[in-house]
Amino acid sequence: MPDAKHDLADALGHLRHAAHQLLAEPDPTGQALALASQILDIENLLEELDIEPAFVPAAETAADSLATAGRLLGRRPDIVPSKIWPALQTVLVQAGDRGRR
């Protein structure tokens, strides 16, 4: 299994893709903007751990990018700050809801 810092760097890279994908899409309701803002906040929390993002290949959708980031962070529950989990859970649910509409 790759080292923890590698997982977190990859997760941060996927979060950056997710924010980019959301901000780039047409957003008449403002939902993508609100979701992207929350993702930026999660990125900021991870950067407080001195994690440098990896430049990873983009997933197909923002929801996929978020899911990948969630999986990578989920491998490292011991070093991911606890305040990231509720924020991450919220964006995962919201991204999933958007994907189903």
Binding site: S37, N44, V93, Q94
Partner: protein, 411 residues
């Protein structure tokens, strides 16, 4: 007054305190159980209560309020549930329109609290005189056991942000604190980060979209504010584009204070959207927010010009491709290097400039709508005015041209 999410967090903490306290509460202390039960019923009745739990709760006898000690942990939980019940019952429409996930989360948290209170009460007082017997409490602990394993989590807006007696100065204060934090970080060439640029742009976009929605509300008094709604929507979209940085470009660092202030403002804006449509105070609050956004927007642009001119942006080596690696054999694909080209910076600056112009246009529309004149106000007679060449853009514009880099500082 605290919002629903804060109340649920407090409920969670107080329940943990109750379970963790070294000595079990006395029979007097657990007489607060009656308040817990009464308020839990008021909440559960709004959100599809489990019938078995409701049957048990309704069978529990009522204790006299005078029997409750003021500061016992169970009484505190009862009061917290009471505020939560008041808040939810004051907003039945919002509760009704809340999705299954949030209703389930709310139900689980209330049931988990009941479980812990019942468990502690049962251990403390197996033959409690206040109730006909421990059987009901044991039944309650059993019926709510599963919910105690559900992790605690925040509810989404709008239900998570509901609160009793919203502070009238809430939005103004949140905007002021956000603008102060944003301007402070944007003014610092050594501390500004890509997060600061992206988050301030996203927040300006949110302010614009909230203002657009607010000014679109029919008031019947100021039709020109309705006319500003469309340009504000365009400004919001333009600032959303300005918030969109390519993933291969970054400017690292810590920006904790701005994150807190931005989240507070997001909450205040979400609460604002729940307010009474058409109230003049709502439009006044959004005018003030737009004035602050305009100041932050100006700082955003001058800070971005400075960062680009100093080549402070970093780019991923992976994104630069194999040619870069060939010419820089010591570099690794996972490295980030000071940005060697200005193309990405120009794109960011262009988006920022477009966004600034869109905001300026929207504010011009709001302050000087076409077809209105400040020369003649209602109640005044006709008067002469001096006509001069039009000057529709009193605000100074910052230069957009990039100047040569001054030094190769990079983070």
């Amino acid at each position: 007054m605290a919002a629903v999410n804060a109340l649920l967090a407090a409920l969670h903490d107080r329940t943990l305190d109750l379970s963790a306290q070294p000595s079990m509460p006395s029979t007097t202390e657990i007489s607060g159980l009656s308040r817990v039960v009464g308020n839990a019923i008021r909440i559960l009745a709004l959100i599809d209560p489990p019938p078995d739990v409701m049957t048990i709760l309704q069978a529990m006898p009522k204790a006299e309020p005078a029997e409750e000690p003021v500061n016992s942990p169970i009484t505190t939980i009862g009061y917290t549930l009471g505020v939560l019940a008041d808040t939810l019952n004051a907003n039945p429409e919002t509760v009704r329109n809340t999705g299954h996930a949030d209703r389930g989360q709310l139900r689980s948290q209330v049931l988990a609290t009941l479980h812990h209170v019942a468990t502690v009460s049962l251990a403390a007082c197996p033959v409690d005189q206040a109730f006909s017997g421990p059987a009901l409490i044991r039944d309650l602990a059993d019926a709510t056991n599963a919910a105690s394993y559900v992790p605690q989590g925040d509810l989404h807006e709008p239900i998570g942000l509901l609160a009793l007696g919203q502070s009238p100065g809430g939005l103004d204060q949140a905007v002021a604190r956000w603008a102060e934090a944003a301007i402070e970080i944007l003014h610092s060439p050594t501390r500004v980060t890509s997060y600061a640029f992206q988050r301030t742009a996203a927040t300006i976009a949110t302010i614009c979209s909230t203002a657009a929605a607010t000014f679109a509300e029919p008031t019947g008094e100021r039709p020109f504010e309705v006319a500003a709604s469309a340009p504000l929507t365009k400004a919001s979209q333009a600032w959303q584009r300005a918030a969109d940085w390519p993933p291969e470009i970054r400017l690292g660092g810590r920006t904790t204070e701005l994150r807190h202030r931005s989240q507070d403002l997001d909450q205040a804006l979400a609460t604002h959207r729940l307010g009474h449509p058409g109230a003049p105070s709502r439009q006044a609050a959004m005018r003030a927010a737009l004035r602050a956004a305009e100041k932050v927007a100006a700082c955003h642009k001058s800070a971005l010009i400075q960062v680009i001119n100093r080549r402070n942006l970093w780019i991923s080596v992976e994104a630069l491709g194999p040619t870069y690696l060939t010419h820089h054999p010591g570099a690794s694909r996972s490295d980030w290097v000071p940005h060697p080209a200005t193309r990405a910076g120009e794109a960011l600056l262009d988006a920022c400039t477009q966004a600034g112009r869109a905001l300026e246009t929207a504010l011009d529309q709001l302050h000087h709508p076409p077809g209105t004149s400040t020369a003649a106000t209602p109640g005044q007679g006709p008067r002469w005015e001096t006509v001069s060449a039009p000057n529709r853009s009193p605000r100074p514009r910052s230069p957009t041209a990039l100047t040569p880099p001054s030094r190769g500082i990079a983070r």
